[in-house]
């Protein structure tokens, strides 16, 4: 009887490396069957049919001066020119934080980093001059220096960096809003003057930050064992989630002044903020509830067993775990809100979209809607795509769903 002999390890050949020529690759991926070939031709025809007129228009017919002339309005609205340095300060701070974070956390992705660095330089080259050019170049240099520093310091400054990010948004609000009287260096700038991309980003930041604690309360309320509190939370959440944001913004603009006593006057930007916060809180509540539900009941029991009170176990044991689970979802919410803030243009605020609308209604820019709106679209697209990509990396880095 012949015994089957197991081959010795050194005799086993590695699996053949798949290697094919360009033609072979094309055959495999594009022409493997007649149907596949048909699809390929249809796709090429589609790309050609859309791409060719689009490219011709972009490079030879479009009049992009509507964007370059109005770039300050599109970015910062009617924010006083003398105070624009504050906005730039926020940009530089962002460059510092971004550079440091990139240095500490991101490995690889050299090309993406170079593109991110090159973007402000390219913008600076496209501009006609003025302080914006200097600021953009400065921001790129600041980011590069911060990156090197972050690389050197490494993971040691992780915690400091996270704290700085958390402090960053309130700080920006403070710098942009200002404090004190007319003569002070940081004088108040009425929020009616905020506009453009600045307003869009501020609305988003305020919406996320303020709605967050509200969302936690509502999520806890919805899981409460006290029926009245539970049903009130459910009613609020479902009511808000059942209606479009634009109706809530409308309500905030028109009915909020009615609800408040006659002495209190709040301006339109703040009213929009209230609407956005009330709206986002309901969605945040559902996100956080999702995180809470993922916590195994054993954690509650264990917290009780070591003698923590209900509030203590919530703050020390449950919430940190629940929030860690929902960070990617919260970034998703941030992106959604960033896009949704464009709705304030309907109630007459001059955010990025609103200002574009008012620019193309001026007589000298009439008929240039495509250029203006395409530029706005690109800004929205670029930032939200970038954030979505970051959140995917964050998800991997945090190991969500792995522990």
């Amino acid at each position: 009887m012949i015994e089957a002999q197991a081959p010795r390890p050194q005799d086993v050949l590695p699996p053949p490396v798949e290697r094919y020529t360009i033609l072979g690759w094309m055959y495999r991926n594009l022409f493997s069957s007649w149907f596949n070939a048909l699809l390929t031709f249809a796709a090429v025809a589609l790309v050609y049919a859309i791409g060719k007129p689009l490219l011709t228009w972009t490079f030879s017919q479009a009049r992009w001066e509507v964007v370059s002339v109005n770039i300050r309005l599109l970015m910062a609205g009617q924010y006083p020119v003398a105070e624009l340095w504050r906005v730039w300060l926020c940009v530089h701070l962002l460059a510092v934080l971004g550079g440091l974070s990139w240095g500490v956390w991101v490995r690889g992705y050299r090309l993406v980093g170079l593109i991110v660095l090159a973007a402000p330089l390219g913008l600076a080259a496209a501009l006609q001059g003025g302080p914006a050019r200097i600021h953009l170049v400065a921001a790129a240099i600041v980011a590069l220096v911060a990156y090197v520093l972050g690389r050197v310091a490494g993971r040691r400054i992780q915690r400091t960096l996270i704290t700085l990010w958390i402090v960053y948004l309130p700080l920006v609000l403070l710098i942009v809003n200002g404090i004190g009287r007319e003569t002070d260096p940081l004088r108040l700038v009425s929020s009616n003057l905020w506009g453009g991309l600045l307003l869009t980003l501020l609305l988003t930041a305020v919406g996320i930050l303020v709605s967050f604690p509200l969302g936690i309360l509502l999520a806890l309320g919805r899981r409460s064992q006290l029926p009245i509190i539970r049903w009130s939370s459910i009613a609020y959440i479902e009511l808000v989630r059942g209606v479009p944001l634009v109706t809530i913004l409308f309500m905030a603009q028109i009915m909020l002044p009615l609800f408040l006593p006659a002495e209190i006057k709040i301006d339109r930007v703040v009213r929009a903020m209230v609407g956005i916060i009330l709206f986002t809180a309901a969605y945040q509540a559902e996100n956080i509830r999702g995180g809470l539900q993922a916590i195994p009941p054993g954690q509650f029991d264990a917290a009780k067993a070591i003698g923590l009170s209900g509030i203590q176990s919530m703050v020390l044991i449950i919430m940190p775990q629940a929030l860690r689970n929902v960070i990617p979802v919260l970034v998703g919410q941030f992106i959604a809100l960033y896009k949704d803030t464009s709705l304030v243009a309907i109630v007459g605020l001059l955010d990025l979209l609103g200002i574009a609308k008012s620019i193309v209604s001026q007589p000298q820019f009439i008929g240039l809607q495509r250029e203006a709106y395409l530029f706005v679209t690109l800004i929205y697209w670029f930032l939200s795509y970038f954030m979505a990509h970051l959140s995917q990396r964050l998800e991997v880095a945090l190991g969500v769903g792995e522990r």
């Binding site: 699809l39 209606v243 409308f250 009915m255 609800f259 395409l374 929205y380």
Partner: protein, 403 residues
Amino acid sequence: MLPFPIQHFGQMTVQQPHRSIPLWRDVRVLRVFAQVAFLVLLALLLGYLFRNMLAALRQQGLGLGFSFLRLTAGFDIGEYLIPFSRASSYGSAFIVGLLNTALVSVLGIILATILGVIVGVARLSKNILVQGLARAYIEALRNVPLLVMLIFWYSGLFLKLPRVNQATPGPGGVLFTNRGIAIPWGIPTETYPTYLVILTVGLLVAIITAAVCIWIGRRTGRGPLAWAWSLFAFVLVAVIGWIALPSAPLLVDAPALQGLRIAGGKQLSPEFMALLSGLAIYTSAFIADVVRAGIQAVPKGQVEAAKAIGLKDAAVLRLVVFPQALRVIIPPLTGHYLNLTKNSSLAVAIGYPDLFSVGGTVLNQSGRAVEVISLVMAVYLTLSLLTSLLMNWYNRRLKFVER
């Protein structure tokens, strides 16, 4: 050695004389108290807001109440499904708006589903070009705010179509102009009512055919395709009815240029087209992602097993993959249908008279802010709740039945 002292509870088994817990530490009392306190606070807050509102309304000389709905509207609405003129009441204006919302939502949901399924399947295509195109489509649309897209679509595309007197008929006699798109449409003749009766009969026949097919299927285990046979029965009755009637029930009316206006056919306004295509295309990107995730959730072994028993690619998709993917797809799909319905309120930005936009006009005309906003919100809430009830019912039907 244990790191903590062990407490001995031995002595405590001695029955202590029964002492009632003081009220302020009795959990049952505390729970009731907390809820009552919450309720009182909530009522106080709401009452305060309500009182302020009444005071503010009194100052403007307005009361509260819905009797204004019977007053004459005094404004025109561009598009209506039920007869409407400026002599109609506010109430019927609302109904016109509601019907417009329903029309655009239902059509949008159907189109978005078809497009979304196509793109979602294309996203998983073996053809690398098709896959890349589908991916670009999804990524491009998901990261742009719908409102920006709608305005771009409307002012950059549909309003830039050729003027009426320069329009050239497209395929099938369709006219593309900046005042809308005109398509051929049927004009009912005197036999049309009879034909409607015939169609109803056809529908009944189709239902009976389907029932018979299912009954045969139950008895023999090899039932004929119910949907195909009932469709065939319906078409058969419809065609026979068309031929049997003395004159055709519908005359095809092709749109034609008549000086500076279009005569005949069905004219779809640029507002309607922009809203419908914007909603459908935007939502289809999200649906495509849901469909892709659903298909990927079906275990690979299922596809391999289906291929092993000799099913062709299309049959594998139709009989094995889709039915299983549907269970994963339905819940998020419901969310996107709801979003589409709510997003149709953005019609106000491009001037399509949907519920919200008509509500805005009524609000401006009558000054009844509180009533109008609450009415509009209540309607959206009802629509949302109805849709989710319907989809939940469907979802329960699809649920995996464990044997």
